[in-house]
Each structure stands twice: as C-alpha cells, then as structure tokens.
C-alpha cells in the first residue's frame, strides 16, 4: 500500500504542477468568508465594549484565523467532482483496477493542501496583523491539535464521499451539495463560535458531525478549551469518523450495484 501511495504521489504532483495558479486561487476563495465574518464580529464586539460572552475582540480574530487554517486543511471537493467524473466516464476505468478510487482522491487532496499551505500561512499572518490577534494557548493545545486536525480532515473527506455516492442514484447532486453546504454554514461554526449560537443550534452541531470537522479543531488550535474538553472532543471526532466510514462502505456498495445495473 505504501508503495502504491508513493507512486500515486509522484504522478499527482506532476499533474498538480500544471494547476498551480488555480490551486492558489481556490485557497484564496476559502479565506475570504472567514475574514468577512471576522470583520463583522469585530464590529459587533467593539460595539459591545470589546467582548461578547467569553470572546474578546482578539479572541474572535484568533478563532477565525484558526477556522481559516482548519477550513483549508479539511477541504474536500469530491462531492462536486464525483458527478463530473461519472459523466465523463472516468469512474469506470478506475473501478476496473484493484485500487479503490478513494485513494486517488486522498493523494490529490493531500497534494493540494501541501502546495497551498505556505501561501495560506502568509495570508493568515497578514490577516492576523490587521486584526491584532493575540494567541492565548498552551503547548498542549498544539499537541492536541495534531490528532484533531487529522481526524477532522478524514471526517470531512468521508462526509464528502458519502454525499458523493448520492450521485449513483440522483446523477445531479447540485442541490444536495448546496443543502449540505448551507447547513454546514449554519452549524459548523462559520457564522459564529459555537459557544455564541442559540442553545438548540449547539445541540444540533454537537450531536451531528458538523461541529467536529471545523469548529472543534479550530477551538483547540485557538487555545480555547480545557484539557478534559479537548480530549472529549477528540473522542467525538473519532466516533463520527468511524460512523462515516461505515456509512460510506454501505453507501458505496449499494451505489455500485445501482451503477452497474443502470449501465456503467
């Protein structure tokens, strides 16, 4: 398996080199929204005397920058690309090979993140300077962050793939994608740190996987959790990751049956 991954990496890196500019642009895309909300919350916080709940203005800044980094590292676009691949007939050849199509996507995903991470950090540094960010975390926050971000990225990836399998039945899943995007917008921590949203929304966020691939690692990175809560979060992430992997296996098998019945 490791050898396979090494080969895939080499091939994909060459392919990715062609699309350097687009890759960076995509990254810019993912920064804009957190920055916009950061600006808005800064205005709100200042209007309320410098803090809202337990978040000072600089806490907001730290949160949204953390969110930007986490958002970037958990990006998964397969729910969009899958439909395209099927229509272009590119899925069938992949199915003939003894390697699950998922692995190609893993490599592609990792390479994009690797290529665009440094530019991202540069932009984040600029934003941090503009909004006067201060980091109040401890070293163990960073230690916790490593497994957290890995779990989050894997979780986001699996969710994207589960959604992608809907293509086997619906052919065009644009609406499904929009639905998920917008629900995620509300419940994953983009519009506000989860501590500040109405209770019923928090319940939804934490009992469904939404909190676990975005808000949770962001809070850990920002240094806003205690050790106990941080560890609990990790458990939650692992739980949902496991659930999603199982869900994917079912969905994929059922979807393949549908796919070959209809005509690959």
């Amino acid at each position: 398996m490791i050898r396979i991954y090494r080969q895939l990496l080499v091939a994909q890196i060459q392919a990715a080199a062609q699309y350097r500019i687009q890759a960076v642009l995509w990254m810019l895309f993912s920064i804009i929204r957190p920055v916009i909300f950061l600006a808005a919350w800064t205005a709100v916080s200042n209007a309320q005397g410098g803090s809202i709940g337990s978040y000072t203005t600089s806490d907001f800044a730290a949160y949204y920058i953390a969110l930007t980094i986490v958002g970037h590292l958990t990006t998964a676009w397969n729910s969009f690309e899958f439909e395209f691949e099927i229509r272009q007939g590119r899925l069938s050849p992949k199915l003939l090979r003894p390697l699950h199509p998922l692995h190609y996507a893993v490599v592609e995903n990792l390479i994009w993140k690797a290529t665009t991470f440094l530019p991202l950090l540069v932009v984040c540094a600029l934003v941090a300077a503009t909004f006067h960010v201060e980091w109040h975390g401890q070293w163990w926050h960073l230690a916790l962050f490593v497994p957290s971000i890995l779990l989050a990225a894997a979780l986001a990836f699996m969710i994207a793939w589960v959604i992608a399998t809907a293509t086997f039945w619906l052919q065009r899943i644009n609406t499904v994608n929009t639905l998920f995007q917008r629900v995620g917008f509300m419940f994953a921590g983009q519009i506000a740190p989860l501590a500040l949203v109405p209770t019923w929304m928090q319940v939804v966020s934490y009992s469904l996987p939404f909190a676990y691939f975005l808000a949770v690692p962001a809070e850990i990175l920002r240094g806003g959790v205690t050790l106990e809560v941080g560890l609990l979060y990790l458990v939650g992430q692992a739980f949902w990751l496991g659930l999603m992997i199982i869900a994917f296996r079912f969905a994929w098998r059922a979807g393949l049956r549908e796919f070959s019945a209809v005509g690959a």
Binding site: I21, L28, A39, A40, A43, V44, A47, Q48, R182, F185
Partner: protein, 261 residues
C-alpha cells in the same frame, strides 16, 4: 427600441431552453430559498448579542442582505451568463460572429445570454428588502424609493463595469477565469455593510471590486441615510466606471481585429 426587441428575443429563447429542464429550474429556486434563509439566520445569530453593528440595526441589516441578493440576482441574470460565453468565444475564435452582426458588439456580448431563473433571486431579494423595511417601521416616501431604485441600478452597473473589464483582459491573457474566480470570492464581502471592514478592504470594495459600495449604497438610500448628493456622486462614479470599462473593451476589440492605434 430595436435593442429592446433584440433583448426580448434573447430572453425568450433562453427561457424556453431553461424550461426544458423544469426540474433543475425549480431546484435552483429551492436552493436560493435555502441560501437566503441561512444567510438571514446568520444575521439573526449575530444580533442575538448586539443591537447594532457599526450603527446598523437588525432590520437595516436584513435590508442590506436583501439588496445584496438583489444585486447578485441582477448581475447573474444577464451579465454573468453572457460574459462567461465571451471568454470561450475569444479562445475559439467564434467572437467573429458577433463582430459580423449589425449590432453594437458590447451590447451583444453583454446581453446575449440569460439565466432566467435568476429572476427568482430578484424577487426573493425584493421580498427580503420589504421584510426589512417593514421591520424598520418607517414610512418610505416616494423620493426615498426613487433614490433606492437609482442606487440599485448604479450598483448593478458598477459590478457590470468590473466584469466587462475582466472579460476584456481575455483578449490579451488567455486564462482569465482565475481572475473571475477571485472576483466572485470577493463578492461575498457584500453581505455586510462596507464600513465594517478595515480601511484597505473598504477602499478595495469601493473601487477595484465595487461590490461593497454597490450593495451598501442602495441599502443606505432606502434606510434614509443617503441623500440626493450621495446618489448623484455614486451615479457619477458609475458613469465613469462604465466609460472606462467600455473604452477598454473597444481597445481590446481593436487589438483583436488588428487595427492600428
């Protein structure tokens, strides 16, 4: 008059085409409901913790959001679909067919294609604006409504001039889609009043990517915070922007057809 008849022909054929895919048509409208609904929810969440944002009250924010979707709808109804095709045309050499027609090329290129379903966005945006107005509670006089309408038109034309400028670049640079992608990313910033942003962003959103001012100005106008002078200044800026973009377009055409100076 002729141009109006032409536009009606364009709209009618595009509409017939979209109606062939009725399912998609209705789904698009549903999606818009979703998008606008969640955006309003976001604003509501924010205003649980405050009564104003930079001087904007909740009803005024709702108003702004409505204007945001109005402007988006207006631009995405005609200009975006048309300009998307233009870049392809420049690449494939089929822009020639536009040039052969006895019609102003800029008009053709800007209005030839429509996404009629975006008219629904316009309606939804207007509904949101009205809801916001009702919440604001003040009476909106005829003068204010007029200012609003004017500012709205100016806002759309400002965004138009930016799009035209970007598309014109495809005469010289082949891969302009990337620039367009950046533009679309920036338009997100229009969902909040432009004065919320730090200075450099505020300036950029009023000049280079004028989505900020395009949305905030009409919102201000109908909230009674912009007077005739403000709208007149906005109008002057718009005329200037459209003029510059059009001149750039003509220059691009000349370069395409090999005219010297």
């Amino acid at each position: 008059m002729r141009y109006l008849r032409m536009f009606r022909a364009f709209a009618s054929t595009e509409f017939q085409f979209e109606m062939e895919y009725r399912g998609n048509f209705y789904l698009s409208i549903l999606e818009m409901f979703l998008v606008i609904g969640t955006s309003i929810a976001a604003v509501l969440v924010m205003f649980q913790h405050t009564t104003t944002m930079n001087g904007w009250t909740l009803p005024q924010m709702i108003l702004l959001l409505g204007v945001y979707y109005l402007i988006q709808g207006g631009v995405n109804l005609v200009f975006s679909p048309s300009f998307e095709r233009v870049m392809e045309h420049v690449r494939a050499g089929t822009l020639d067919f536009h040039l052969l027609k006895p019609v102003n090329t800029q008009f053709l290129v800007s209005t030839r294609h429509l996404r009629v379903v975006r008219a629904a966005d316009l309606v939804l945006g207007l509904v949101v604006v009205i809801v916001g107005l009702v919440q604001v509670g003040e009476q909106v006089g005829f003068a204010q409504a007029l200012l609003f309408a004017l500012a709205l038109v100016f806002g759309v034309m400002l965004v138009y001039s930016l799009l035209l400028g970007l598309v014109t670049l495809s005469f010289w640079f082949v891969r302009v889609e990337n620039l367009l992608a950046i533009f679309w990313a920036f338009t997100e910033a229009g969902r909040f009043p432009v004065d919320v942003y730090p200075l450099w962003l505020r300036v950029s959103l009023s000049t280079i990517v004028p989505i900020g001012i395009a949305v905030t100005a009409p919102a201000n106008a109908i909230a009674g915070r912009m007077d005739w002078i403000g709208v007149a200044l906005l109008g002057a800026g718009t005329v200037l922007a459209v003029g510059i973009a059009s001149a750039l377009w003509r220059k691009g055409l000349k370069s395409y057809t090999g005219a010297s100076a």
